[in-house]
Every structure is written in C-alpha cells, then in structure tokens.
Subunit: 201 residues, 2 copies
Amino acid sequence: MTATATRSTYHHGDLRAALVTAANAMLEEGQPLSLRALARRAGVSPTALYRHFADKEALESALAVQGMRDLFADLTAGRPGRNGTAGPAMPSTRKEVIELGVRYVRFALRRPELFKLMFGRECDVENDERVRAAAALHDHLAAVMAQVFPDANADDLATAGWGLAHGLAFLHLDGKLPKDKPRAVDRRVRAAYAAILPTTN
Amino acid sequence: MTATATRSTYHHGDLRAALVTAANAMLEEGQPLSLRALARRAGVSPTALYRHFADKEALESALAVQGMRDLFADLTAGRPGRNGTAGPAMPSTRKEVIELGVRYVRFALRRPELFKLMFGRECDVENDERVRAAAALHDHLAAVMAQVFPDANADDLATAGWGLAHGLAFLHLDGKLPKDKPRAVDRRVRAAYAAILPTTN
DNA sequence: GTGCTATGTTTGCAGTGTTAACTTCGCACC
DNA sequence: GGTGCGAAGTTAACACTGCAAACATAGCAC
C-alpha cells in the first residue's frame, strides 16, 4: 500500500518525513493514531520514532503545526490579487467575511481528525509554535475585520468571528448540529453568520 | 478521603452512584479518567464497573448527560421569576443574551474536563440522549432569541449564539486565546458578543 | 432452608507509550 | 583507505490501559 515497502537498507533515509506522511494518512482514514500502528505502517520498529520525536505529543504537535499552515493557506488563498494589492486580496466585503467562516468549517469537516488534533488538545507551552500560529490567525482576521467594519472594534470582532467559526466547526464535528450534506452545512454556517454579523453601513 | 472507605460488605450498596461521583471527582481534579484508577478510588475491583456500565464510553456518556443537565440548569437559573411568568424568567434583553454566553464559557472553564467529555467526543448514536439534550439547548436558545430579536430568524440566531459561545469556550480551553483571570475572560466574551450581536432597534 | 440471580472478584489477554541496552552503518578524518 | 564515532534503527522489557471469561458471594423469593 502506502509506504510500507519493506526497505532493504538498515537506515531509512528520511524516516521523519515518512512518519509524518503516514500519520497524516492514518488521520485521514479516521484511524486512532497509535505509535505502534504508525511504525508498522512505515515498516519500522515500534520505537524508531523516538529518534525523531521526543514523544507522541511532539509528533502530534508537528502534525498540528503543519495543519495550521494548511488551514491558513486555505483561508487566504483562492481569490487571486484583486483590488490592486500584490498577492491574494484580503476579503473586503461582508459576504467575503462570511465565506471565510464557511471555509473554516469546511476545513474542519474535511479533515476532522487533524482539526481535533490542532485544537482539541491543550498545547502545553506558553510560547509554543502552535500558539503563535493561532495568534497569526487572529491577527489576520482582525486586519480583515478592520477593513470591512471600520466602525467596530476589529479585535473584538475578530475574536467573535473566529469563535463563531470554531464553535460551528466543533458542534458539527461532534454531532451536536445535524450532520447533513456539505452543502447544507455551508448554508447553515452562512445563515448563522448572516443572522449575527452586523451589516456594513 | 473521598469514598475509598474499605467496605466490609461484599456488595457495595450503590456502586453505580459511587462510580459516577468518583469519576466526577477525578475529572474535577484534572486526572485522566482511567477505569482502573476509578475502581481503586471506589475501593472495588477493576472490573466491577462492568456490572453497571457496558464499557468506558457508557460511563462517559452518563457523565456527559448529567453534565448537560447541569449546564442547562446553570444557563436557565439565577434570575428568579421576573416578567410575570412562573419559574425562572427567560432572558429578554440583549444584555441578558450576552450573559448567557458568559455563563456558557464560565461553565466550560470551571469544569474543563467534563466539558470536553460532553462535547469533545462524537456521540455515536443518532437518537442518543446527548443529542436530544443538545437539541433542547438549541431550542431554548431559539426561544430566547425570538423574544429578544423578533425581527431576525430566531433559529439561525440561536445557532450563531451557541456556536459563538461554544467556540470561545474551546478556544479558551485549548489555550488559543489568552488564559488570564476569569474576569478578563468574561470581558473578552462580552466584548465579542457586543461586537457581533445585532443591536435591538 | 434452597436456589436463583444480581453483584463483585480473579485471572488473563491484547494493546498502548516509553525507557534501556544493543546493533548497524554512513561519513569525517588521518 | 582503513578507523572510529555517532546518528539511526532494533530488541526486550515495564507499567499501564480497556475488556472478556470464569469464578465467588450473598441478598431475596419461594
């Protein structure tokens, strides 16, 4: 199947990357992330992993950080440079802010196990890379909000906008809101944002 | 200590209740909920639990259901029968809706492990008691919203209000938003709601 | 008193994360 | 170009987990 190819060399080459790839695959398949199963999948002994990660949490942290990057890219990509700026344009309308929320929830539902790993655990350290990634997300959102709702407190609005997306994502993930087709979920998210978000001017 | 009293009788009397109590205590103390540790704590053999719960998930489900009741009580209690109705009055102002969110987040931060147990797992079955409890919460909130914001779609607004509280709760729990003193958290929650929630005419 | 049955216990299994001691081998160095 | 050193992988073992099967106890109906 995947990378279970029984290698001939004693040393693996790039086990760390292989482990991350295999781990992501396991998450994608909804399997519980067990180090032994992971090692089996990578065709390596159960403890080889410890040469590359301090412990299980370190591995999960690495996965989470990459996940944060993916999420951030997901949120900022797709709308090629409009309104004169270089690179992807920031959302500049209320509608686009709502679509940001839709994308956030979509990401969570598309990669649920990864999303839970990114958020559903307390990241221990204060100056963790994951915390910084979270702060980056918040800052970006605040910049967007400042542009779209110039009269409101952008920071508070960013917290609210993020909180709402995050809550809707988790409520859907855990089956507290009806788990219907993606389209229906999109609609519900849009409706929620539309109902609560201030109207521009 | 707790209920570790080495009993004299072979039969326990009410082991089920004792297990639930002990489990809640362990959650409260932030200890990982292990069946063996739980049994030790109740002064009983490691597998005695299986006479009262099908498996670990059944126990967790029981805890979660009670937690939902507590949360619901927390949200509906405290404001003795105003505006003529029997029983506790429903929130009828924008400010009171915001306080609902504050209470929700407070509950999550006061009993974090229980809260994660209530929400952080997918409840398996479709017609699970937990799902019904969630629906009840949503309905109650919709009724509140209908009263406070008669012009808006109450259902969408309920989804949004719940989603926001839920997201803020989890973001705080997982350290994605600064984990300062309860007062500061209260303020942040209020600010977020105030920034995003429509004003009543 | 005699069984029946609900409740608890003992034993054991398969799985988990993790450490310690050992093996293999790529690569820098004289 | 052999030599050794250290990075990378292995094996064995430990303590822990949830859980099933077989067994022991005792309250309660008859």
